[in-house]
Amino acid sequence: MQLSTSIWVWIAAFLTLTIYSFLYKDNPLYRFAEHVFVGASVGWSIAIVWHMTAIPYIGIPLRDAFVQRNWPGLIYVAIPTLLGCLYFFRFFPKQSWLARWPIALMMGYYCGISISPSIETNIFTQVQGTILTGFNPTSLSSWWALLLLIGVVSTLFYFFFSLKHEGIVGKTSRLGIWFVMIAFGASFGYTVMARVSLLIGRIQFLLHDWLGILK
């Protein structure tokens, strides 16, 4: 057994234990760690945004464009910068509508780019993988492929919103829920291992890096 002599390890170990104390109940130590975490992580993102976005994407291009008298380049960076500054009008109730412009830029951009790829990945690829390409009654895998098709079709039935879920629609969508439940059980079961691995990682840190009990 050899206790760690590094102050950093002690800090990390202390914070690790305070978080685990939350499992017993909420307490001042957890609260302390929580506020440290929130404060430090926001501070970290500020530093990252400063170095990774503000300087390389705004500061340097603006300066370079200005020094080189590259006016189109200046305007190119200035427009989004000014748009970004419009967010600050949130602080002035009378003019707060100006903040809608940068929001509109973002909404238009994200909604526009999401449509076509989601047709490809969410629809085409899924459908392509489901259609039967042949059926051989003597081969087991053909039957499983058929089961897959039935599963997809019945699950989709569950998502019909404008039909009453009665009769054949009701029965099919209930079959769909069976598939969904089995899928959820499976996902739950096979996630356990990954989650326990995380705990093992922390315990190894405490026992090995900090306390030095484990070799």
Partner: protein, 387 residues
């Protein structure tokens, strides 16, 4: 991706073009791109022994010099895709390629040939995306058609969605207990459409909360989402006729760090003990951390997400869960606005068409497989979704 797109193109071009060229080295444009790639192919020299690979040289202008842009390491590989950011190609350039055969020690043995001058070209339409265009246009038309139909027919039916019916009750419970409602609009940014869907639900929920004179807490992970949820909640209080009851710190930004956000929200749950927790939007691993802590405080919990991997955890630890598309249907369901309900109808029609395609094409494929056995027919079927 490059691989998926190029190799078929390479093979097609390679097979189709060899005999056409007069020179031993043939240059082809890669179709459906922005003119930044070319395919070079050549005939292997049949007469010499001891050559193992090729070097590919390129000259970008008439008076320029040949620069090595690549190497093909197998003697059978008689083609090369030139797309390297170090040696960029643009439409309008006139390039010439030169291929040299090498021996095992990478000494140049012999020149295979020099190509004719070639200029890469760019396309105005990516023809491999034809199917997607058709689908987008179809979805667009379906939406608009049903919007107009919905305006005429005010009583379109929507099936019961238990999780949304329970919202009212859940907010009412918070009012009775004199505690607040916690609304987590997911942990993602606006580029997840689930966040947008969540914001569409937040409006009506916040309004209801304001009407009941209860407090709603909205912690945010993303600053942009924060600015929007702040506006939405403020507006809802105004609409409910209680603008004075809205406090600035009800809707707040926590941290962009996923688990710092969770640590803070868990703390809030333990201390403020909200009577109702709503988790709607995009969630990752934190789903269970939030939902189980909420469970421990005895709150009524309603979740909704399109994150397939997290649904099992919400289903097991929340009272109600909106599964996938139900989240997107929620704003229409809550508002009963005929226009929005019309869009749900449009989604159902799209779904029906998908179902018909799935079943019909499968049946056709089975028939074909068992009776006609035509390869080209099978390819025709698959080409419906060919990506």
């Amino acid at each position: 991706m490059i691989f998926k797109k190029f190799i078929p193109a390479v093979i097609l071009v390679f097979l189709g073009s060899l005999p056409l060229s007069g020179s031993a080295v043939c240059v082809q444009d890669v179709p459906d791109d922005d003119g930044s790639a070319l395919i070079v192919s050549w005939e292997p020299p049949g007469d010499i022994l001891g050559f193992f690979m090729y070097k590919i040289y390129r000259k970008d202008s008439l008076e320029g010099e040949f620069v090595q842009v690549g190497k093909s390491s197998k003697m059978e590989n008689c083609f090369f895709v030139d797309k390297d950011p170090r040696f960029p190609l643009n439409s309008g350039m006139n390039v010439v390629y030169r291929i040299v055969a090498l021996d095992e020690e990478e000494n140049e043995i012999r020149e295979i040939g020099v190509s004719e001058q070639f200029s890469p070209s760019h396309s105005y339409f990516n023809s491999t995306k034809k199917n997607t265009v058709v689908a987008v246009i179809f979805v667009f038309t379906a939406l608009i058609t049903f919007l107009n139909l919905a305006k005429k027919d005010k009583n379109l039916f929507i099936r019961k969605i238990a999780g949304l019916d329970a919202l009212d009750e859940a907010v009412g419970r918070a009012t009775e207990m004199g505690r607040s409602v916690l609304y987590v609009p997911g942990l993602s940014t606006m580029d997840d459409i689930a966040t947008v869907a969540s914001i569409n639900i937040l409006g009506p929920v916040a309004k209801k909360v304001a009407e009941y004179e209860t407090k709603i807490l909205v912690p945010n992970r993303d600053p942009i989402v924060y600015t929007i949820t702040h506006e939405v909640v403020k507006e809802a209080y105004l609409e409910a006729g209680r603008p004075d009851a809205f406090q600035e710190d009800q809707v707040f930004f926590v941290s962009q760090n996923q688990f710092a956000f969770v640590a803070a929200v868990n703390g809030i749950m333990m201390r403020e003990k909200p009577a109702t927790n709503l988790y709607l939007g995009m969630f990752w691993a934190e789903s269970l951390l939030l939902a189980e802590t909420g469970n421990a405080t005895g709150a009524v919990q309603i979740a909704g997400t399109d994150s397939v991997t997290q649904l099992p955890f919400f289903v097991t630890s929340c009272d109600y869960t909106l599964i996938g598309e139900e989240l997107y249907a929620a704003s229409a369901y809550l508002s009963r606005d005929p226009v929005l309900v019309g869009t749900i109808k449009a989604q159902d029609v799209e779904k029906a068409i998908l179902l018909i395609l799935l079943v019909l094409l499968s049946v056709l494929a089975i028939l074909n497989f068992n009776f006609f056995r035509s390869e080209s027919f099978l390819r025709f079927i698959m080409s419906f979704f060919g990506t």
